[in-house]
């Protein structure tokens, strides 16, 4: 029987390949994700390890509390006098101090060199032969005073030559340094899109605004000294604002940020692989069901020859197993290609990821094969059970249909119950109090799965009316072919519903994402319009979100025509035992912002003084703050200060630029090493004018990382970040739409095969090949539109539920985009029909009629 099952597959190669393909894409995404993230992980791992290779111990500054990852807020630097003390320790062989930070290199066009979102790393190099130096010189010499070395890849891309003057900007304005050498990082072939620049210590201290200070001291121990002994000894001289770790420990610490990024990327991409697999399971289930219906006679014959129900069940499951294995193996290797493609894709958009060659872990193989096979097997269960209901008498009776299952009459209530349970789970996950993140996700995910399955089962009832309505244009455009297409779509509602369901899932998710994005954008726009008062221009980083040096705002303030510059600084502090986002404003801010004051007034913004603060409504409520309440803030440098609440404001739905607690810039700067602005807002004499914009541009020439924007431009810039995220989401969701497209192709091919005789008859009585093609195409489009209609409706409902839960998004229906999705569905239908329609049109009339 096993051999029989496998031969059955070989006998239907086209269908097998089409069905398998539905799973291949999902598995490829899973395997590609693992290969990609493992490769990045390994490359980063070697970068971090190599950069600490020579260090037995590393001393670094210590923040007063754990800083949030990835916010750019770093631990304060410490006094460089510590270096002498460490060098004097008996067990220390060598110790070198360094400072580091973000350093922009300025290209020949005068703009900052940035490759995608990759960092621009700047650091001091104590000396070329330091055991802690992970760089090797490719050309030229190590940097001396007012000199810089640059990594080979950047130097190559920007055509920098040794001896030329290169602009470098860190916290101040652009510094012009001589390029003394070109370097390479360890053995890593590419460190991604990051740029490296190295300086001697005094130059670096000046650039990063840390004169007389160090960020790190790297230590190598004297011979025969254990690491523990070394650490013990170092601790005896450490001041409170520093800490010491082993070299390995420091490498681990360094990698925390990227590790959490990689793990996020991994889960994110796996999520989409999961969606594609889920959709693929619908396609597999549907095509197995159709083939089983078509093989009724064959299965019945097997029963008359003595095959038991269990044997039929087993043979279908073995078939599914074979499809699953085939798909999983192809998907596994397609994943390798996908990972390669993703690297190339990221590279072409300028976001070069570090790559030391693709990593193929055992886990990748195991997980990819397992999910591919298990999903296929689960999808085959229902069709396999159907096969067992084929009665032996169907072997002799023409057109025998499967008997209804004993549970058939429970199908409608069961589907409704499933859907209700799904929505229940979703609602519980969204609104139930006291659920942890894991609980919320679990309920929402489980709920969504049940909703999709439930709706797809219920959609059997919707097919006939929907096909009637959506097929109406087909009957008008397509004439008889169109009318027949509509009839065909209604003829087997179960089949049409299953085929459409695969597309339904993809479109529901696309709609959901679009609705959320539209909501976020419209509430953000509303917020900016509400808060933005008199300012003519905003100054932000080129990438719209990085902090910019305070020096930029200071230079802008001195620009002719500028009346006032309102700055917003951002940082972190500890308040009431919790880490919070703090912001700071300078006095002119009162002219720039329009806030909804619950207590206090806009005048507060310019009168915060040394100890004034204002807080948002939610924070005030949860900590029972009123006017005059004290708020103790602990800054990363360990200093602690009391601030008094002078105002409470209600942020608009789309959020505000302010953190939980906002203090004056003057007070903020006392506690933060190199303060930076998140945004600056500029008020100018004469308002917005080309002359004023040009004046600002001239000033910002020295700060290539900063740019000027009007209110409208500012909104567009901020939204553009969201748009690129949205585009990535669309590309990833397109994967599941492609899977469902294959589902339609598959169904149509099988349907054409099944209707061979009928199509032959239609041709015999005068239907042209063109009309046959049109008939298939219209049926395909009607099926796709049914999926789109249900999917878009479901997407809107899901989005409305989510938005009801999330405070900062308003519900808005992007009608234009939804119409575009509907049109896209029509194209999916047309594309899916190409191959099956051609097969149908090619049928030889005579053979088709004789076909038994």
């Amino acid at each position: 029987m096993t051999r029989f099952a496998l031969k059955a597959l070989l006998g239907r190669k086209l269908r097998t390949v089409l069905s398998a393909f539905a799973i291949v894409l999902g598995v490829a995404t899973v395997s590609g994700t693992y290969v990609l993230t493992d490769s990045i992980d390994k490359a980063f791992g070697s970068i971090f390890t190599e950069s600490r290779n020579g260090s037995d111990a590393v001393i670094s500054g210590k923040a007063a509390f754990d800083l949030a990852q990835g916010t750019g807020v770093t631990a304060p630097a410490f006094n460089e006098s510590l270096l002498q003390k460490v060098r004097a320790l008996p067990d220390v062989r060598v110790a070198d101090g360094s400072v580091n930070g973000e350093a922009q290199l300025i290209g020949k066009d005068g703009k900052a060199i940035v490759y995608g979102g990759a960092p621009n790393l700047g650091f001091s190099i104590a000396r070329g032969n330091s055991p802690f130096n992970p760089l090797s010189l490719v050309e030229g010499s190590w940097p001396k005073h007012n000199e810089v070395v640059i990594d080979k890849s950047t130097a190559g891309k920007e055509h920098f030559r040794i001896g030329q003057i290169v602009g470098v900007q860190a916290v101040g304005s652009v510094q012009r340094l001589r390029l003394s050498g070109i370097v390479k990082f360890g053995s890593v072939s590419t460190i991604g899109g990051a740029t490296l620049s190295g300086f001697d210590l005094p130059t670096a201290q000046r650039l990063f605004g840390k004169p007389g200070k160090l960020d790190e001291i790297a230590v190598a121990s004297a011979p025969n000294v254990g690491t523990n002994q070394l650490l013990q000894q170092i601790r005896t001289v450490l001041p409170a604002d520093t800490q010491v770790r082993t070299g390995q420990g420091q490498a681990h610490e360094d990698s925390k940020d990227t590790n959490s990024f990689i793990s996020f990327l991994q889960k994110f991409l796996l999520g989409f692989g999961g969606v594609a697999l889920f959709v693929g399971s619908f396609v597999i289930a549907n095509s197995l069901s159709i083939t089983i219906a078509q093989r009724t006679r064959e299965l019945a014959t097997l029963r008359t020859l003595g095959a038991s129900r269990r044997q039929l069940l087993r043979s279908i499951i073995i078939e599914a197993l074979a499809i699953g294995i085939l798909a999983a193996v192809i998907g596994l290797f397609a994943g390798l290609a996908l990972a390669k493609g993703l690297f190339a894709l990221f590279d072409t958009v300028g976001f070069t990821l570090p790559n030391n060659g693709l990593t193929f872990e055992t886990r990748t193989v195991v997980v990819s094969l397992a999910v591919g096979i298990i999903v296929t097997l689960l999808a085959s269960l229902r069709p396999a059970l159907r096969a067992t209901r084929v009665p032996p008498i169907a072997a002799v009776r023409e057109g025998a249909t499967l008997p209804e299952s004993r549970y058939a009459r429970f199908r409608l209530p069961a589907s409704a119950l499933l859907t209700a349970l799904g929505f229940g789970g979703l609602l519980w996950g969204l609104f139930a109090p006291g659920l942890g993140t894991a609980g919320i996700l679990l309920f929402m995910l489980g709920g969504a799965l049940l909703v999709f399955i439930g709706i797809s089962l219920l959609s059997v009832r919707l097919v006939t009316p929907l096909a009637g309505a959506l097929g109406w244009p087909a009957t008008k455009i397509g004439g008889t072919a169109g009318t027949l297409a509509r009839e065909n779509a209604q003829r087997n509602p179960q089949r049409t519903a299953s085929t459409a369901s695969a597309l339904m899932i993809g479109l529901a998710l696309v709609t959901l994402v679009t609705m959320l994005a539209a909501g976020i954008i419209s509430s953000f726009r509303g917020s900016v319009n509400e808060i933005w008062k008199n300012a003519d221009y905003a100054i932000t980083a080129q990438n719209n979100f990085s902090p910019i040096p305070v020096a930029a705002a200071d230079a802008v303030a001195k620009t002719p025509g500028v009346l006032a510059v309102g700055n917003v600084r951002a940082g972190e502090a500890l308040a009431f035992g919790k880490r919070i986002n703090t912001t700071a404003v300078n006095p002119p801010a009162s002219q720039m912002f329009n806030l909804d004051w619950q207590q206090g007034s806009g005048a507060i913004l310019s009168n915060l003084g040394d100890d004034g603060a204002f807080v948002d409504k939610g924070y005030a409520k949860s900590h029972h703050l009123e006017l005059g309440s004290p708020v103790p803030l602990t800054f990363p440098d360990g200093s602690r200060e009391l601030f008094n609440v002078e105002g409470i404001f209600a942020p608009p739905t789309g959020g505000s630029p302010f953190g939980s607690v906002t203090i004056s810039a003057a007070a903020f700067d006392r506690h933060v090493d190199a303060p930076q602005n998140l945004y600056s807002f500029v008020l100018m004499k004469g308002g917005q004018s080309p002359a004023n914009a040009a004046a600002l541009d001239r000033t910002l020439k020295n700060f290539p990382n900063a740019k000027v924007a009007t209110r409208q431009k500012f909104i567009d810039n901020q939204i553009s970040g969201l748009s690129s995220v949205l585009n990535i989401l669309y590309v990833l969701l397109a994967l599941s739409v492609i899977v469902s497209l294959f589902g339609i192709v598959n169904t149509l091919v099988l349907t054409v095969f099944e209707r061979t005789r009928e199509i032959g008859m239609l041709r015999a009585i005068g239907m042209t090949r063109r009309q046959v093609r049109r008939m298939i195409r219209h049926e395909s489009v009607i099926t796709a539109l049914i999926g789109a209609t249900i999917g878009i409706a479901l997407g809107i409902v899901l989005a409305a539920l989510l938005i009801a839960r999330v405070d900062f998004i308003v519900l808005s229906v992007p009608v234009g985009q939804l119409i575009i999705f509907g049109i896209a569905a029509i194209f999916v239908g047309i594309i899916a029909a190409i191959f099956p329609a051609r097969r149908a049109a090619r049928l030889n009339v005579l053979e088709a009629l004789q076909y038994e």
Partner: protein, 259 residues
């Protein structure tokens, strides 16, 4: 398992002292309910003796197909009972029926019902493979020779003529030496020359292998090879004759049609 099949069938065949491998009594079959109900069988009783070819003849709509489906356990009678090899089959569970089919029943279909992806020999061996029985090489070779398929073993059905396909199907029905073989219009889909060949194969199976066969047909020529012909009309057996010629059968049928 492999050695037991032949032995078991022999045993069950010999068991009933009556000499009949199949007995049916008072079979009725009603389709539908109320006003639209149709009585396809209205009380049919018959016995099939071992080693004979019994033909069931009748015009279309006479109930002959229904009778065969019920005798073969494919359909259940509304009332009455069927006994095959000493087992009353109308009360059997699905798995017991499956077991009965494996041991005691072979089928020959009008449209052959071969599996297109299997070769001729694989099709013939299919019942054994389903039952998990190892084929006896000698018997299979003999069977393939008898069916005239010695040089067609590895051909697929699509590469065989209609007659060859039906011979594969007959081989498949005989391979497990069932107590009884049911043939449903075995020549209904063949031209007259090929029909003759198939009838000859069936006849020899009865003569030389002592295979019991029940054949439903509406062709006089097919019925003419039978040891016994049962004429059925309007759901009742109206006549039973032995060793009739084709000519005599045609006359019988004309009488039935006119009645």
């Amino acid at each position: 398992m492999s050695n037991s099949l032949a032995a078991q069938s022999a045993e069950t065949v010999d068991a009933p002292s009556t000499g009949f491998v199949l007995s049916a009594s008072d079979l009725t079959r009603r389709y539908g309910e109320g006003d639209t109900a149709v009585d396809a069988l209205r009380g049919v009783s018959l016995d099939v003796p071992k080693g004979q070819l019994t033909a069931v003849m009748g015009p279309s709509g006479s109930g002959k197909s229904t009778l065969m489906h019920i005798l073969a356990g494919l359909d259940k009678p509304t009332s009455g009972k069927v006994t095959i090899a000493g087992t009353e089959i109308s009360k059997l569970s699905d798995s017991d029926l499956t077991r009965l089919r494996r041991r005691n029943i072979g089928f020959i279909f009008q449209f052959f019902n071969l599996l297109p992806m299997l070769t001729a020999e694989e099709n013939i061996l299919l019942p054994l493979s389903i039952a998990g029985v190892k084929p006896e090489r000698e018997w299979v070779d003999q069977l393939v020779d008898r069916m005239g398929l010695a040089n067609r073993r590895t051909h697929r059905p699509s590469e065989l003529s209609g007659g060859q396909q039906q011979r594969v199907a007959i081989g498949r029905a005989l391979v497990s030496r069932p107590t009884i073989v049911f043939a449903d219009e075995p020549t209904g889909n063949l031209d007259s020359k090929t029909s003759g060949e198939i009838l000859e194969v069936l006849n020899r199976s009865v003569q030389e292998l002592e295979q019991t066969i029940v054949m439903v047909t509406h062709e006089a020529r097919a019925a003419a090879i039978a040891d016994r012909v049962l004429f059925i009309a309007d759901g009742l057996i109206v006549r039973e004759s032995k060793d009739l010629s084709a000519h005599e059968i045609v006359e019988e049928m004309e009488q039935l049609d006119n009645a």
